[in-house]
């Protein structure tokens, strides 16, 4: 049994700009998602959207140990993961707004952010469907003998779908360089985990696939990064895949239409006290002044605001776009 809560790694051990970079990225994602809520209320975003406020430390921590050539797949709650992997904010906003300058020229929308140039090879709107695809990305690395690692983010709910089982089994039997990261935000859509899942720690599922399962505090970015680094190194060394369960919390409803009234009283408040951005800022105060942290915050806000401005100025796609990209 390899399961165990990873102790928080100190950011003090890293270079001084590390913590600042992590904080800046988490703030950009938080502010991006807050803006998306605004855009929704203005009816500027179509369909539905699924936001990740509160879960930023998971994607930022993991992606901070990846290179652009490493691949990342994620879910329809994937804005944060794609931004953390390095996609430009303006093109992300452009995609949400259905503009020609969007990541996918407005053809994917909120649930399908992808930027292959930074290794973000797909956000999937079918629960768990990207796990087998991650296995394929890892298979390509193994086949070609390069050192790319394939990482996948998915929710606690995805561990109950068949594709999860098939993917983890195959990745392990072929010892592929993959890292599977459960963003355990405590709810599968509207249902609390305990009502759908007979075990309380999802990392235990790794045992069934003969791979290490590691539980980590998903609101502690340093701990997430430390666990991710070990898993990525293990994958790169040809030792096979790892399952990481990052315990975190979805501070908002499942989707646009969900006010999350099913949450027990006080639960949100308890998690807000452990907000990942708050925790990181608090830990940084030993080496950073409040003013310096404010500057990081202001810079992030300015980046997000100007990205949105750029996106709003992007034209809508021309109609010839409709028939493009069905075929090679």
């Amino acid at each position: 049994m390899t399961i165990g809560v990873e102790a928080s790694a100190s950011l003090d051990q890293g270079p001084p700009d590390d913590a600042a970079a992590l904080l800046a990225m988490m703030l950009r994602i938080r502010m991006f998602e807050d803006k998306v809520m605004d855009l929704f209320s203005q009816n500027l975003v179509r369909g539905s959207t699924h936001l990740c406020q509160g879960q930023e430390a998971v994607t930022v921590g993991v992606c901070s140990v990846l290179r652009h050539v490493d691949t990342m797949t994620c879910t329809y709650r994937g804005h944060g993961a794609v931004i953390a992997k390095g996609a430009p904010l303006a093109a992300c906003f452009g995609e949400l707004l259905g503009r020609a300058g969007g990541l996918c020229r407005g053809k994917g929308g909120s649930m399908h952010f992808a930027d292959f140039s930074v290794g973000a090879i797909g956000s999937n709107a079918i629960v768990g469907a990207h796990l087998p695809i991650t296995v394929g990305a890892a298979l390509a690395s193994s086949y070609l003998g390069d050192d790319r690692v394939a990482v996948s983010f998915f929710g606690d709910g995805a561990t109950n779908i068949g594709a999860f089982h098939e993917a983890l089994n195959l990745a392990s039997v072929w010892k592929l360089p993959a890292v599977f990261v459960i963003e355990n935000n405590q709810y599968g859509e509207y249902s609390p985990l305990r009502s759908t899942t007979p075990i309380d720690r999802l990392a235990r599922r790794a045992d069934a696939y003969g791979m290490p399962g590691v539980l980590v505090d998903g609101n502690d970015v340093a701990a997430v990064r430390s666990v991710a680094r070990s898993a990525v190194e293990r994958a790169r060394a040809g030792q096979g895949p790892t399952l990481i369960e990052a315990d975190t919390y979805r501070q908002v409803g499942h989707s646009r239409s969900d006010p999350a009234t099913y949450r027990p009283a006080g639960e949100l408040d308890r998690w807000l006290e452990r907000d990942p951005i708050l925790l990181l800022e608090r830990s940084m105060l030993t080496r950073w002044s409040t003013e310096e942290l404010d500057t990081i915050r202001q810079t992030a806000q300015r980046d997000v605001d100007s990205a949105l401005e750029m996106a709003l100025a992007m034209p809508e796609p021309t109609l010839d776009e409709m028939a493009k990209d069905v075929w090679a």
Partner: protein
Amino acid sequence: MSEEINYRKVIAVALADAMREDDSVLLLGEDVGAAGGAFKTTAGLFEEFGPRRVRDTPISEQAIVGAAIGSALCGLRPVAEIMFADFAGVCFDQIANQLAKYRYMTAGQAQLPVTIRMANGAGAGFAAQHSQAAENWFLSIPGLKIAVPATVPDLYLLLRAAIRDDDPVLVFEHKNLFALKGSIPRGVAPLRLGVADIVRQGNDVTMVATQQMRHRAVEAADLLVQEGIEATVIDPRTLIPFDDEAVRASLEQTARLMVVQETVQAGSWGASLIARMVQDHFELFDAPPTLLSTPNTPAPYAAALEREWLPSVEDIRIGARELVKW
């Protein structure tokens, strides 16, 4: 001098030629490696190319197709085998929602040179869960190409073309044609997907049929000559893209269209073809088109029932006689 081989064995020949030509081609599937395939269609490949390129998988169709997709996104040219085409139902999401839509949703960022081979069709007593002509399930999903080879040379050429193609191609290998003999078309020009084979020319009726129905249509057409009826038989070879022009050009001569298919009418390639022809070329028709399909039931097991269930040579003859009366 071309080499005589059967439909079953030419599959491994085509796969081996593709693998020798391009190192990025690899095979994935249940028992495709050490066992040589459930139908022995990959026999010898594991010995020549080894376990890195000929990969036995668990019984995990979603993982097989998903792994093919992911490896294609990262530069490989995978060939996945789904043992019986009916099992596409187990990985329908990976084919319908992932493979077909990935390129479009990412505005062309995703490259998907994926081939999926499946053993297709009825006639050998496998019963309903191993006999579906499953190509019809995929007609309404833009992004997939569909090949339905009926002969040894077509199977070789279409499989080679599918693997070289930069789009996902589903290749349906008909189980009831495995013993069919033919020659390997080595040294001929590669086949373009979407070009029909005009198997036989005649001025009275245009028959369009694929796979085992193509052979029955040809047999019926040969018999109809004795009755003074001359039929054209067109094998489209691929359903997507479909060579509408070949059918239209033939209708100019015959003004009569009969489609013979190994599936029910609803949602079938034959129904779609007739709809397009009637809508676009109504003026060419002297008679209402005929769609010869199976009864609206799953494929039955018993020989007596399955024989009756599939459109027969006699059914085709009767249908053609009725058509030319108009």
